[in-house]
Symmetry: C2
Subunit: 95 residues, 2 copies
């Protein structure tokens, strides 16, 4: 299954929505920072992620940004200064 690596970052205005977005993100990828995740997703997983996030965010108050970093395994590299984080090995934990 071909996957692409995405960086997904979010600013969620409401604490309850923030917790729900975090739960969604943890099912699809790996936390790089407090509100920044790296996710290796197939096209189907990307559609599911989008539907799950759509259910939670308030489009007037919240902001989610997604950047396609390229094919899994050949994606843009991540340079880390300070406290390092593990990068995703492959694919979401739970579909």
């Amino acid at each position: 299954m071909a996957r692409r690596r995405y960086l997904i970052a979010y600013d969620i205005a409401d604490p309850a929505r923030l917790r729900r977005v975090c739960r969604v993100m943890e099912a699809y990828g790996q936390r790089l920072q407090y509100s920044v995740f790296l996710c290796d997703l197939s096209k189907l997983e990307l559609v599911r992620w989008r539907a799950d996030v759509h259910e939670v965010i308030d489009y007037g108050e919240d902001s989610v940004v997604m950047i396609d970093l390229g094919p899994e395994g050949a994606a843009a590299s991540v340079t880390q200064l300070g406290r390092p984080r593990d990068l995703p090995k492959s694919g979401p934990a739970i579909i």
Copy 2:
């Protein structure tokens, strides 16, 4: 001057350091989210950014990640859900 677009995100443990990192980031790029910036930087500007950040962060507590999104003008695209943000037109505000 050839520039590349970088996504820079940070988790800074100490409020005073966080303010200083914010000031550094605002001089080099455009805020995409609370702790996520897009910066179009030449090689020289990248070296200066790194030196400036090095002066501020605590390598044991703080985390800064930087992802090269490609040449300015042909960089990886940013998909935004919810409240949109302006993307950088070009180059840092203050060298």
